[in-house]
């Protein structure tokens, strides 16, 4: 099966006429994803590599039956783009854009609270269910259909780790993004992987900052029925410094790598310290 996306997902690209939007729309379609069009206000009626452009998400949904979107819009306008997707009743909105102000994201998720849309990101590479669909920017070559679920705060580190699981392949790989406030958490994904018949093990890729890993560990301890492996980046990060990702910061003494590793180990999560070890550790647990 897979989680979040599959062959039936119909995707629109918000920001399709921009350089990144156009490029990735084509790449997703090439992968086999049903990319049914895109949205750039004011450019409705145009075509981007044969894909229809609409002025609004509502318009696009009405004409194409889209149920998901991916956003390639500058950070200043990303919140509005997410709100528009949520307002139009999409099942999934993936925000790739980096640099969204934290309070913007707080307001977006508050708006989403009692509505049906799942928001993924922001500042994330998206999601891929290998062999089925890609709503994201990850390089196709690193992934193949299989039984390992991967959920990560990172971009390229996710690809690195996924490429170490090729013996088993991946059911779905989800990038939840590197910001402090994100639409989908580790627990959200673990819950979905737990219920997915095709996923036999999960790899959690965390990093310094926040307490999402600790809460995920609690969930694994009490509810997870499948083996979980974990990797935490940032053991050498100094406190108080933002390490690239807006959410990767040790503040007030909390969010350190040792704390997260300790929480993982207490929950029975196999902690891996080198991407290269993952293949062997997966074998041991499967």
């Amino acid at each position: 099966m897979s989680i979040l996306i599959d062959k039936s997902t119909r995707v629109i690209v918000q920001g399709i006429t921009g350089r990144d939007g156009a490029f990735h729309a084509g790449a997703m379609r090439e992968y086999g994803t049903q990319v049914v069009g895109g949205v750039t206000p004011g450019k409705g009626g145009q075509l981007v590599e044969g894909m229809p452009v609409f002025d609004s998400v509502e318009d696009a949904v009405g004409k194409t039956g889209a149920n998901a979107s991916i956003i390639f819009v500058p950070a200043a306008f990303a919140a509005d783009a997410m709100l528009e997707g949520i307002g139009a009743g999409l099942d999934l909105v993936v925000c790739v854009s980096e640099g969204v102000p934290t309070m913007d994201m707080v307001r977006v998720l508050d708006y989403a609270k009692d509505r049906k849309t799942r928001v993924l990101g922001p500042n994330c590479p998206g999601v891929i269910s290998p062999g089925k669909a890609k709503v994201g920017i990850m390089p196709a070559a690193s992934f193949k259909p299989g039984c390992v679920g991967v959920v990560s705060r990172s971009g390229t580190l996710t690809y690195e780790i996924a490429s170490q699981t090729t013996e088993f392949g991946q059911s779905t790989v989800v990038g939840i993004g590197g910001d402090p406030v994100v639409g989908t958490t580790f627990i959200d994904c673990l819950r979905m992987f737990n219920a997915d018949p095709d996923t036999r093990a999960v790899v959690v890729v965390g990093e310094i900052g926040g307490t999402d890993e600790e809460r995920a560990a609690e969930f694994v301890k009490t509810e997870m029925k499948k083996p979980v492996l974990g990797f935490i980046a940032g053991q050498t990060a100094p406190p108080g410094k933002r390490m690239g990702h807006a959410g990767a910061i040790i503040s007030g003494g909390s969010g350190t790598a040792p704390e997260k590793i300790k929480a993982f180990e207490a929950a029975g999560i196999t902690v891996v310290y080198e991407p290269q070890e993952i293949g062997a550790r997966l074998k041991a647990r499967l």
Binding site: F23, A75, A76, G99, V100, P101, T102, M103, D104, M105, V106, R107, D110, I137, M138, P139, A141, S142, S152, R153, S154, G155, T156, L157, T158, Y159, E160, S163, G178, P180, V181, V205, E207, I208, G210, T211, D212, R215, F231, A233, G234, Q235, T236, A237, P238, K241, R242, M243, G244, H245, A246, G247, A248, G252, G253, A257, Y273, E274, P275, Q276
Partner: protein
């Protein structure tokens, strides 16, 4: 982005939060003039972007006029936790009867702002959270409704047990929240919020951190930035579109992606080396960016080897390879324009993903040492930097 106490107090003043009468001074003479204007006694406070000023001797009360200049002189120029004190705030003294804490941050797990208030003011809030968390009131703030008056009032009653200061607290809390939202803060704190002998409240200190992601809608922030408190190379890197944090080791690293960059640093340490920096070149693979990245790392004299770890998705490895060639030059004996013409250190490059084969071809006869896997690359770089400890 952090700002100084005196800058945060300017914002407080603009919003009507009561602060002491104070003046900024950049020299002992200015401090003396300020003291004479305000009237003694005064408190002279180091303006520096770290906590623990008091413990470091950066906050001192002065009773006599003739002591103002020497005390200000001893605080100005002080090094507090690596930062130099360039300004002091000369503040009138207050008749303090009690010290309280009030602050706002975004609670990541709750995905909403939270206001914290405590009667244990004047101490580091993290300390209180560690030793007596029950002393901290937490007000969950609904993002759509904002901080509601009754929430602040109830907190005020719990802190002061008296309607008048509770009312004043309610007003201050409301203004604090308005600043938090309107100025896109990531943190705002009054510690201590003092209750005075006459029953009124006064913000004796002010701390504001801005959410860097919101800078596009706050042009006024640029003029408030204290560049002297920032690592110059980090400032330079940011201007070039690179994310760079200087550390103290000898293995420099250039990586695409923050998570992968942190994992690379961790692996360097694991294999007995010490990372010299964090550097994320991001998605772009332009030769100029690669050359700038290598140059910034090389400007750190501690660096003995450089590791380039690139997982190319959209980023093309052949672009990176060409950029590296430009950085290292191919003919070291000629005076060339490569960034390594001044100082040559061994460079290991592990390029994987899109066009990795092409990249390998490009770097075949260059001084760049290749590596297949991340572990191999780290091992090589650590060895070239002088070996594991």
């Amino acid at each position: 982005m952090k700002i100084h106490e005196y800058q945060a107090k300017e914002i407080f003043k603009a919003y009507g939060i009561p602060v002491p009468r104070e003046r900024v001074a950049a020299s002992p003479q200015e401090a003396a003039a300020a003291a004479s204007e305000l009237g003694l006694p005064v408190v002279i406070k180091a303006q520096v972007l770290v906590g623990g000023r008091g413990k470091a001797g950066g906050v001192r009360k002065v009773e006599a006029a003739r002591h103002v200049e020497p005390v200000a002189g001893s605080i100005l120029g002080m090094d507090i936790k690596g930062l130099k004190v360039n300004k002091v705030l000369v503040s009138e003294c207050a008749d303090i009867k009690g010290e309280y804490y009030v602050g706002i941050v975004v609670d990541r797990a709750a995905r909403a702002p939270v206001m914290m208030a405590s009667a244990a003011g004047g101490v580091e809030i993290e300390e209180v959270a560690r030793t007596s968390p029950e002393k901290i009131l937490k007000l969950a703030i609904d993002p759509a409704a904002g901080l509601l008056s009754f929430q602040a009032r109830n907190a005020g009653m719990a802190l002061f047990h008296d309607a008048k200061p509770a009312r004043d607290f309610t007003e201050i809390a409301g203004k604090l929240y308005r600043i938090f939202v309107e100025k896109d803060c990531s943190l705002i704190e009054i510690n201590p919020l003092a209750r005075l002998g006459n029953g009124s409240l006064l913000a004796l200190d002010a701390k504001i951190n801005f959410d860097d992601n919101a800078d596009f809608r706050h042009k006024e922030w640029e003029g408030m930035r204290d560049l002297s408190a920032e690592e110059p190379k980090e400032v330079e890197a940011k201007a070039a579109g690179l994310s760079y944090v200087k550390l103290s080791g000898n293995v420099g690293c250039v990586v695409n992606g923050a998570g992968l960059a942190m994992a690379t640093m961790d692996l360097i340490k694991r294999y007995g080396g010490e990372p010299a920096n964090f550097l994320d070149v991001g998605g772009s693979s332009s030769p100029e960016k690669m050359a700038t990245a290598v140059r910034i790392i090389l400007s750190d004299p501690n660096v003995k080897a450089i590791l380039v770890n690139i997982f190319g998705g959209i980023t093309r490895c052949d672009d990176i390879a060409n950029g590296l060639l430009q950085a290292v030059g191919t003919r070291p004996e000629l005076s060339d324009n490569s960034v390594m013409s001044l100082r040559r250190v061994p460079l290991v490059a592990r390029l994987t993903g899109t066009n990795a084969e092409k990249a390998r071809e490009i770097l075949k006869d260059s001084p760049v040492a290749p590596a297949e896997t991340m572990s191999e690359a780290v091992r090589k770089a650590v060895a070239l930097a002088g070996g594991a400890r």
